[in-house]
Symmetry: C2
Subunit: 301 residues, 2 copies
Amino acid sequence: MLKVGYIGLGLMGKPMALNLLKAGFPLMVHNRSRAAVEALCASGAQAGHSPSEVARWADVVITNLPDSPDVEAVVLGENGVLSRGHPGLIFIDHSTIKPASARKIAAHLTAAGIAALDAPVSGGQIGAINGTLTIMVGGEPEALERVRPVLEAEGKTITWIGPSGAGQIAKAANQIMVAAQMVAMGELLLLAQKAGADPVRVVEAIRGGAAQCWTLDVKPQRLFQGVRTPGFKARMQAKDLNIILETAREYGMPLPATAVNAQLFQAMLENGLGELDNSAVIAVLENLAGIHLVEPDRTEN
Amino acid sequence: MLKVGYIGLGLMGKPMALNLLKAGFPLMVHNRSRAAVEALCASGAQAGHSPSEVARWADVVITNLPDSPDVEAVVLGENGVLSRGHPGLIFIDHSTIKPASARKIAAHLTAAGIAALDAPVSGGQIGAINGTLTIMVGGEPEALERVRPVLEAEGKTITWIGPSGAGQIAKAANQIMVAAQMVAMGELLLLAQKAGADPVRVVEAIRGGAAQCWTLDVKPQRLFQGVRTPGFKARMQAKDLNIILETAREYGMPLPATAVNAQLFQAMLENGLGELDNSAVIAVLENLAGIHLVEPDRTEN
């Protein structure tokens, strides 16, 4: 069975790594903070002390990190994956980073005989825990086929999109839609409230029609209960939207609606709300509207 | 069985009226153009020559018209429903109109002993044909219970929202989400295309994840085939968005994302694209981006 090295045991990485252990893959883990490493080791993983140690031991190295600079440092930096990666090693990055950064990393690794797949995921922490993630893959299809059993332990829908960076483009596309739905949900809930129509009934009425979406299926009941904890952190959504706008500028693609949505998520950060769920973008709209969806003391801000 | 009068046999009204006939309701129909009336009469309906004639005959009068002035004219105007409506008559409006207009109509009818329900629908022409519409109802719950068998012949999910106008508020909420998804779909498809990631694969990858929605389930394959015919007409989506912005202004609710989406649908009208499907808002983004999703000769513009 393929020996898997896992670097980055955050909100997503930790449950995904656990699913690899459950599927029987020998696992070495590395993470900046020790608590998650110890939790994984208690479940049968071994600890790696640096990305290079993980890369030397493993057949497949997976990263799951916050942003482009983090992945570049872990792969290309001192004691990085590249420094001790052996030809035949396959590198998989589950982080959401700039497509241009994914292509740069892949170029360096490929030159050293290491195949690289950008494989960002969608489906949230729930999907990570249940192994039902959507995984969007860019890179060589042959490399994907070799690691498919690994990805199948982490997710349900695994789709090859195209060459290096294409997985990140698909993730950008995903985040364009998710951000649009989160903002639209906030706008429609507060309009209903201001106009005197019960937002709970409104959601019940519309979620089976043309407006149907995972967002309306899952998020409103949490908001109605005053629950705004992640889920998927607003600061990650804001980061993803900045990646999208930067990438779109690079390719000459105007995104008028996404630009507005990005500004609203940016406003969350300016208001110190970045650690909340992305659905909590409704808080920015509440500020604009001068009302609250539920009494503030019921909201876990 | 309740005798039903149906006024307005357009893209939505005609199949909905047919479903009432199939369910066995005695039906009198009225429409500005004759072709739809004749089609319904061939299936067993009788023709009414004015809204007042329909109102005198029926137990329930249904309207399904383009906009607020049309409904006001048919109900409150010369030879309108109100002029011959008898106490005990129930009026149902399936049109999408201003909540304020719905409340005004209801006030006039209620004063004459006629119950009024605003009951806009969602689910498109497919939903109208298959009888799977979502129906959002404002008005007296007792009146809704009396006409529920009628509504159940037209739709699947019937939800009481609140007093008069509340059905229209729910529909506004619905259209906020639908417009957001249509624009986001256009943006993400064209970004993928410009960035060299196959939009078909991108949609395949993301439609099962957090971005999941009816829009992504149904619309992209039509766009990939160059099909931009309605479905739901862009000029109706633009009208609905203008109603939403006007209503939001009335209630003091800023809608930054919906405002941008409304502008993009307005741009469709300025470009003579109002008769296309609402998913064809991608044409406006194509103009901004200087590319086409599919070759123009494959697009039914």
